[in-house]
């Protein structure tokens, strides 16, 4: 008796499992299913009626249109904001084309901005004169250039170039009326000329053949410096003369030593 009851229970369960989708889609009705199993109809009917009622109840608790799609976006955004993910996870996750463009473009833009900033700083330093905030950077860059130049001829040319740069700074200081800076600038000019002469002296000892062009270039630089400083002296106030005279003396001494 108990076994029969269990057998019926199992059969009803099977019928319900097999037909629940068909009932929901309307392919099967209560009567059509009961007609197939008349021997267990009294047991099956109330349960099938309950299943049909539950199918209708299911429809009344369905999600509203668009909810799943919208809430998915919200959930993903919330996950993104709350979950700290690693560098490689960030790189390998699925992105939209706009996100990819942003991911590639952002580091490039940052790099270019950084390079532009460095470049601007270098240019500002190169244009600076004694007394400017970036002048020490300019001297540091020049020292770095000298330290990284190992060829004696190139090193001499660099010293000559720096000596020329000092005289240009000198002219600019006079033009801007910064006369108090002139003695220091003249001393710096002297140091560069002495350094140039030292290197030329080293070349004379090691390889006299390549000396001539460097000496010629240095002589031209010094004579044009003397000429420019004399012109400057004629057109500048008396207050600037002691400083200019000092610079002329330095350049003339350099010329003398070169001879």
């Amino acid at each position: 008796m108990k076994q029969d009851k269990m057998k019926i229970e199992r059969q009803i369960d099977q019928i319900i499992n097999e037909n629940v989708t068909a009932i929901a889609s309307g392919e099967e009705t209560l009567d059509s299913i009961l007609a197939e199993y008349p021997q267990i109809a009294p047991e099956l009917r109330p349960r099938l009626e309950a299943v049909i009622w539950l199918q209708q109840a299911k429809l009344s608790v369905a999600t509203r249109p668009g909810f799943i799609h919208d809430s998915r976006k919200y959930l993903e955004a919330k996950i993104e904001s709350t979950h700290p993910s690693g560098f490689w996870q960030n790189l390998t996750r699925r992105y939209t084309p706009q996100r990819w463009v942003f991911n590639i473009a952002a580091p490039i833009i940052v790099f270019l901005l950084f390079a532009l900033m460095i470049n601007s700083a270098v240019i500002t330093a190169r244009l600076s004169i004694p007394g400017d905030p970036f002048y020490s950077t300019k001297l540091m860059i020049e020292d770095l250039q000298l330290a990284l130049t190992f060829n004696p001829v190139e090193k001499t040319n660099l010293h000559i170039q720096q000596s020329r740069e000092r005289s240009l700074e000198f002219i600019e200081l006079v033009m801007e009326g910064k006369y108090e800076q002139l003695p220091v600038a003249a001393t710096r000019m002297e140091s560069d000329i002495i350094a140039s002469l030292h290197v030329l002296n080293e070349i004379t000892e090691s390889d006299p053949a390549i000396l001539a062009p460097s000496v010629e270039s240095f002589r031209d630089t010094l004579s044009s410096e003397i000429f420019m400083l004399n012109v400057l002296k004629g057109s500048s106030p008396i207050a600037a003369h002691p400083g200019i005279n000092l610079a002329i003396q330095v350049a003339q001494s350099g010329m003398l030593a070169l001879r």
């Binding site: 109330p46 539950l54 999600t63 509203r64 909810f67 799943i68 998915r72 959930l75 996950i79 979950h83």
Partner: protein, 185 residues
């Protein structure tokens, strides 16, 4: 073509590696069933929507600890949903109201006429009243099997019982529901 379970496994693996899009796919597959399970226990559609999001957020947080060899993903989600419901009841310090006049007036998208909204809410309250008169394990088995459309095996995993026990419980629960429908009309 891989089946649902296989697709879920692949998505879970990706989600565990931090792929929120894969988790979004899992959400799209399983959120309707979770929502129906929650809404059948609550009288506010908005609460059910909020709690659905909460279930998946908790699932995401627990995902690193989740192993495929343990509880299947759907059962894992339903267990979280059940805990979220319990927390919700505790926070509100009461069982959900079953009075149609106690509704929150939320305007559902896609139902424009106020009369439809009220009609839908009354129908929902009517269903809640019927189901809440049943024993809690009867409510659970009927909700999981016929509202959330879980298989007997999945229902057994969620309820932590054998498939045979679920079959017997479902058999009795359906009869009890039919009697309830007869009594209350």
């Amino acid at each position: 073509m891989p089946g649902r379970l296989e697709i879920d496994k692949q998505l879970i693996r990706k989600a565990q590696q931090g792929d929120s899009n894969a988790f979004g796919d899992l959400y799209e597959s399983h959120a309707p069933a979770i929502f129906r399970y929650l809404y059948i226990h609550l009288d506010s559609q908005m609460d059910a929507e909020d709690l659905t999001g909460e279930v998946f957020l908790k699932a995401w947080q627990s995902l690193p600890k989740y192993t495929e060899r343990g509880v299947p993903f759907l059962a894992f989600l339903f267990r979280i949903a059940r805990n979220v419901l319990v927390d919700h009841y505790r926070q509100n310090n009461r069982l959900e109201s079953k009075d149609p006049e106690d509704m929150d007036g939320f305007t559902a998208e896609g139902i424009s006429e106020p009369v439809d909204i009220v009609g839908s809410q009354i129908e929902h309250q009517h269903i809640l009243r019927k189901l809440h008169r049943l024993r809690s394990d009867y409510q659970s088995v009927l909700t999981l099997r016929f509202i959330s459309e879980l298989s007997p095996e999945e229902t057994a995993q969620v309820m932590n019982r054998s498939v045979g026990a679920i079959r017997v419980l479902q058999h009795r629960a359906l009869a009890a529901l039919r009697d309830e429908l007869d009594e209350t009309g």
